[in-house]
Structures are given as structure tokens and as C-alpha cells.
Symmetry: C2
Subunit: 406 residues, 2 copies
């Protein structure tokens, strides 16, 4: 058995072991500063120590294992992902990135440059409804304002860190003040594209920018039996036209996704013409200018639909996040490693957000995706096969060995 095969076997075992560390028996849940979240950090810390790493933690429970470099004073390469989960989660989202980093270093041993493996304590944002708390803290993005956000119980982030934090021996990780080679994150795809393509791993071009809108249409509620079609102002028929317009818009650009995921209507009776409809629009593209242009075109189409039907249209931009491009040079090196494993140089945009979004505020980032079954994530049936995890491991090992040469 070669070293990679052996490390891949241990990786699969560790995914299972870490998947047992939960706050809720029978379901996997590890949220910010919960006992299971800190227990998971402690478990991974021990595995880091077994690799000869120096292990540190911050007050929020993010851990860092440092493997010293062999070539003197070089900027470190950062690897990692997050150790928290959603409620009733799968075992791979986040954990796979941290554990694959450790498995890769077990194969490669120390590299010329230092390697930091990070296990972030919050990416999902379950407790405080604010994502990336772990990586935000590492790049100086958790300011005094963020300290005031509160969880469902009314506890502020500052209070939680003070009372529940892992304060003993805590270090503050301040990557915003230091030069780093890059942050490289491996993650399950959370989509079905690799499965449809029959490919185990791929690179990531960018983490998509996202616009989230709340759209409302107001027409007139009328009796379904007594109101002829030609005098209706049916808000649901108008919404249907908007939904199909959003779909056409999404299909007009292969990198765009446009989704109406939620829809409410009033009065909502089988014999009443809907007078009011509210729906959400989720709009993502790896290129911000494209996203904004296409969204503008779609909203103009919504306006035309509403005007044509005598409906009143209102929309709110609930959220807008810019895209985070992955570093082209690093990504080429990752694709080199991917090509050796899959024969292809597949590059996909990431429709979901990742810790790399925050780390990109301080350094170049790059990402590797590993195929997951049915595109399922945030679900107990989330699954990446041992072969696909091994493929991800081979890519990371190949990449580390490649950049160690230059």
C-alpha cells in the first residue's frame, strides 16, 4: 500500500470519527462555541500534533496547526476549512477540507515553506445568523460592530466569547498583518455538476457574487367564478411570467443561476384570484459586472410584465455580495495536479460561499471541489465516496509537491 492510499484510508476513518462528535445524539450538529464544536477542535488538534505540528487556538475555537518549513523564513501556505456544521448536517462539509490537508501533509512531510492548517469554528453561521465568524476573526474582519450581534437567546458575540470562549491560552490569528503565500481550501462541491460530468474533482474559478431580492406584485383579488379573464389583474399569473423570465435569464448565460425559491400569495383560496404575491429571487454569477447587468435586464423585464398586466411591482435588494475570484496562477497549478488525477482541467464557479471568501481579503485564494452524491449537502445523507476523497487528496498532494519545487 502506497503512502497516499494509506493516508486516504485514514482520512475516511477520521471523517467518520469526527462525524460522531455532535451536540445532538442521532444527528450531527456542531455550532459556534458548542461543546461538540470545541470537542471537534480538540480531536483535530491531537491529529495535528501527531503530525508534528505546533497547535494553537483562538478564543472562538478556531484551531491552527503549524508545520514548520524546511527552507528558512518563507511566507506560509494556508490550508483548511471549517469544523462547524449546520443542524442535522452531513460529515463532509468543512471537515473534509481540514482532514484532507492533514492527510496531504502526512504524505508529503514538511515542505520548504511553513504550512498552517486552519480549522475554523464557524462558517455556517447557525448560531449568530452571520457566516464566516471563524475566518473573519483570522483576517481582522470581526470589529466592534460584529461584537454586538446576538444569538437567538439574546447573547451578544462579545458576551459569548467572554463567557463561553476557549480563552485559556488563546492566540489571536492576525493574517491581515502578515504576508502569506495563499489560502487553499478543498470542499465538497455541494452541487451535481461533477456527478453529471462523471468527474471526481475540479478547480474553482471564483466564488459567485450573489444578489438576493424580495419581489412583490400587487394586482386585485377577485372572485374566481365571476371575474372574466380579460378584466383580471392576477398577481400569481404575473409572478408566473416573472418566474419564467428569471429562468430564461438564468439559461441565457452558462455561469448564471437565477432561482425563485419562496413564494407566498394572498388571499390564497382556490376560488379567489390572487391579489398579492411575494417571491424571492436568488441571483449568482462569478463576474460582478455580468451579474449586475443581467439582473438589471431581468428587473426591466419584471417591470414590463407588471405594466402589461396592470400590476404594481416592488422589489428590495436584500443582500448583495461581490464575487471572489480565485487566484489564476495558483488555480493553474491546482489544475495541473487535477489533470494528473482526472485527465481533465475542469474549472467550475462556486455557487455557495466558503471561508475562502474571507481569507481572500488578506491573500490569494484557490479551491478544489470534490464530487458529492446527488449534490446533497447540509443533510445527513451528504456523501463523498472514499475514491473521490482519495482523488481530492491526490490533487492536494500533487499541488503541494509541485509548488514546493518552485
Amino acid at each position: 500500500m502506497d503512502a497516499i492510499t494509506q493516508a486516504a484510508g485514514q482520512l475516511a476513518e477520521r471523517i467518520e470519527a469526527l462525524g460522531q462528535v455532535t451536540d445532538t445524539p442521532g444527528a450531527l450538529t456542531r455550532t459556534f462555541l458548542s461543546p461538540a464544536n470545541l470537542a471537534a477542535a480538540a480531536m483535530v488538534s491531537r491529529w495535528m500534533e501527531e503530525l508534528g505540528m505546533t497547535v494553537e487556538h483562538d478564543a472562538g475555537g478556531t484551531i491552527r496547526g503549524i508545520l514548520a518549513g524546511t527552507a528558512g523564513d518563507l511566507p506560509p501556505l494556508l490550508l483548511g476549512s471549517h469544523l462547524d456544521t449546520v443542524i442535522d448536517a452531513g460529515k463532509y462539509d468543512g471537515a473534509l477540507g481540514v482532514l484532507t490537508a492533514l492527510a496531504a501533509l502526512q504524505v508529503t512531510g514538511p515542505l520548504p515553506f511553513p504550512v498552517h492548517v486552519l480549522g475554523f469554528s464557524d462558517e455556517e453561521g447557525v448560531r449568530f445568523h452571520a457566516t464566516y465568524l471563524g475566518s473573519r476573526a483570522c483576517v481582522g474582519q470581526l470589529g466592534t460592530e460584529a461584537m454586538e450581534i446576538r444569538d437567538f437567546a439574546g447573547v451578544s458575540l462579545a458576551e459569548a466569547l467572554g463567557k463561553e470562549g476557549w480563552n485559556e491560552g488563546a492566540t489571536r490569528f492576525s493574517y491581515e498583518d502578515s504576508a502569506c503565500l495563499a489560502y487553499v481550501e478543498l470542499h465538497i462541491e455541494q452541487g451535481r455538476v461533477l456527478e453529471e460530468l462523471g468527474e471526481a474533482v475540479c478547480g474553482v474559478s471564483a466564488i459567485c457574487g450573489q444578489s438576493r431580492l424580495a419581489v412583490g406584485l400587487i394586482g386585485q383579488a377577485d372572485h374566481a367564478g365571476t371575474t372574466p379573464m380579460e378584466i383580471r389583474r392576477d398577481a400569481l399569473a404575473g409572478a408566473a411570467a416573472c418566474i419564467l423570465a428569471a429562468e430564461r435569464c438564468g439559461r441565457s448565460d452558462p455561469l448564471l443561476v437565477a432561482t425563485v425559491g419562496k413564494l407566498d400569495l394572498r388571499p390564497g383560496a382556490s376560488n379567489a384570484i390572487p391579489g398579492e404575491v411575494k417571491f424571492t429571487l436568488d441571483f449568482r454569477h462569478p463576474d460582478d459586472a455580468c451579474r449586475e447587468r443581467l439582473l438589471g435586464e431581468l428587473l426591466a423585464e419584471f417591470e414590463a410584465i407588471a405594466a402589461d398586466r396592470g400590476l404594481k411591482l416592488a422589489w428590495d435588494l436584500v443582500q448583495a455580495n461581490p464575487a471572489v475570484p480565485c487566484d489564476p496562477g495558483l488555480t493553474e497549478r491546482l489544475l495541473d495536479a487535477i489533470e494528473l488525477v482526472t485527465g481533465g482541467r475542469r474549472l467550475l464557479p462556486s455557487g455557495a460561499g466558503h471561508d475562502a471568501v474571507m481569507m481572500a481579503t488578506a491573500m490569494p485564494v484557490a479551491m478544489v471541489f470534490v464530487r458529492c452524491r446527488d449534490g446533497l449537502s447540509h443533510h445527513p445523507d451528504e456523501y463523498a465516496s472514499p475514491d473521490d476523497m482519495a482523488a481530492g487528496l491526490r490533487v492536494l498532494v500533487g499541488f503541494l509537491q509541485d509548488i514546493s519545487k518552485s
Copy 2:
């Protein structure tokens, strides 16, 4: 002041007076066998007696005023509507038909044939979720099976009639066993057509047949960010195509109305592609063969939409009621009377059901519609203007005088 103007004034006053008789202070509600429903029947009974009518009631609280004919033993003409209301109702729906009948007889005095004015105790079906209980009882359509239906409290119709019924001195009205000239009902339109046309009253061609369907579409719930458009099976986008197909179908025939009034989707999150949608379809046409043919065409279109999108379609026919045509000869006589009032011979289908549906099982029926503001009914803002009520009264008086001559 002529007799009709005087009767119209009294009619408007009585609408207000009857509109005060309610089970719920501050809102108009009179449901089957409720204290207010029986109090309304008693109030109208007194007005019938003032006209010299013989007044009877059945156990369910339906009242009948009989004005004897002047020309010996002729079959009676029936007039009327219902005295029950929905919850938080308007004052005109039902009541206007009963009170206009009384006002017309006040103007005409006794006619050659007997006239029965009926005030049905249940048309809305609020208490037992079964409509037309009043008129059903009058035409022998309340069999032993109907006696077993239960209200929200679990009380059967048989129990309600036994314990709460107006049993003292009750008569059973058995129109199924007797020859009658016709049942003629005046009712607010409950739609906006007369308002759009600027006409106060019209005749009714038929009460539309209705098909009610529950439609389900199953696709695949996926992550809105990570699932490219081309591999989605979005149940909501499929439903949107069906909703627009239903609208196109409704517009293809001026007598058809097709409505999607209710829609539920799952999982129903802004960042999740809807995997499952359920919606209602309400489909009405005055001609049954047309309704069935057009519905068949629409469902074939739904099938094609689902097949094209990789969705699973299921539909249930929840209810199917045949159309009830109004008697052409009687309706021509009503149109003669309408023409004298409005100058036109407008004939509309009724998209809503009425007591005439049940009465048609035993005799010819005809109907007059009176314009109501904004098409609003089943709502406290329901309103017919005094002028429009007077126009309805003039039509009924003209019609009665006309058929009295022949």
C-alpha cells in the same frame, strides 16, 4: 312618489335593518340555525305577513310566504334567495333577492297565480361545509346520507335539526312533488362585469359548471447556488408554465374562467430550488361539454410541460358540478323587462353558484343580476347602490306584470 320609488326606498331600509341581525357584534354573520339566522327569518316573516302572505317555515329555518293567486288553481311562481351569510359578510348577498321579491309584490299586489317567496336558511354552507342546505331541503335533495354530515363541533345535520331546529309548527316544503311555474332569483352579480359595462342589471344565461382540481408537480430540490440551470428540475418553474397555460386557456374562450388561486411549495427557502409544488385549479364554463373539452386540453398541456421539464405531474379532480342552464323562455321575458330599464338585453353566465342550482332540479329557473361595487361580495364592503337596487326592483315588477298578462 310612485309606488316603485316608495318600495325601493323601503327595500333599501330593510337591507340595512336585516344587515344588523348578526351573531357577531360588529360584523355580519348568520350561519345555519344560528340565533341571528332564525331572527332574520322571523324579521322577514313579519314583512311577509304585512303583505298579506301566509307564512310558513321548515325545521331548518327556511321561510315561505305565500301570496294567494287571483285566478283560481294555477301553479305557483317562486321567488327568493337566501338569508344566511358567510362570516363577516356583506348585507346584499342573498338578502337582496328575498327583499326585492317582497318589494315587487308590494308594488304589483296579488297576481293571477300564487307567488311563493322563499328565504333559504343555508346557501353559503359555512357551518356544514355543504352548500344549499335550505334549497336542497325544499326539493327533496337532503337524503339520509346528507343527514350524517357534521359541523366543526362534530354535530351531525340530523342532530342539529333535531336539537336546534325550528321544529315547532314546521312544514316540509316538497317542491319536488308539485308543479311550479318557475323559480326566479335576483342576486348581486358578485363580479365586476356590469360595473365595467356601466349597466345596472342583466339576465343570466346559466350557472356555470365547475371543475376543481388539485395539481401536484414533483421535481428535485437542489441548492440554488450550486445547481446550473440546465440540470435543474424546478417544480416552481414548471408550475409557472402551467399557470400561464391555464391563463391562456381561460382567455381562449370568452365564457371560460380558469384560476390558480392557491399554491404551496417545498422546501420554500430563498436559496433552494423548489422540489415540489401543489396548486389548485378552478375551471368554470356555462357549457359542460366545452368545459370538459377545454379542461382536457389544458391537462394535456400540463402533461407536456411536466414531461418537457422532467417533472412528475399528478392531479385530482376534487369536485365537478354540471352547469345549470336558465330557462330560455323565462329568460327572454326577463330580458324584455331588463330592456325597459337599461335599454339593453345583457345576458351573463353566473360564475358563482346560487339556490337556483338546487331549485332547477324541480322546475325551470331564471335569474337577474344586480351590479355590485368593485365586484365585491362576501365582504363587509359589499355594496349595491339604491339606484341599482331600484333597477332590479323595476325589472322584477315588469317581469311579474308581463307574465301576469299571458
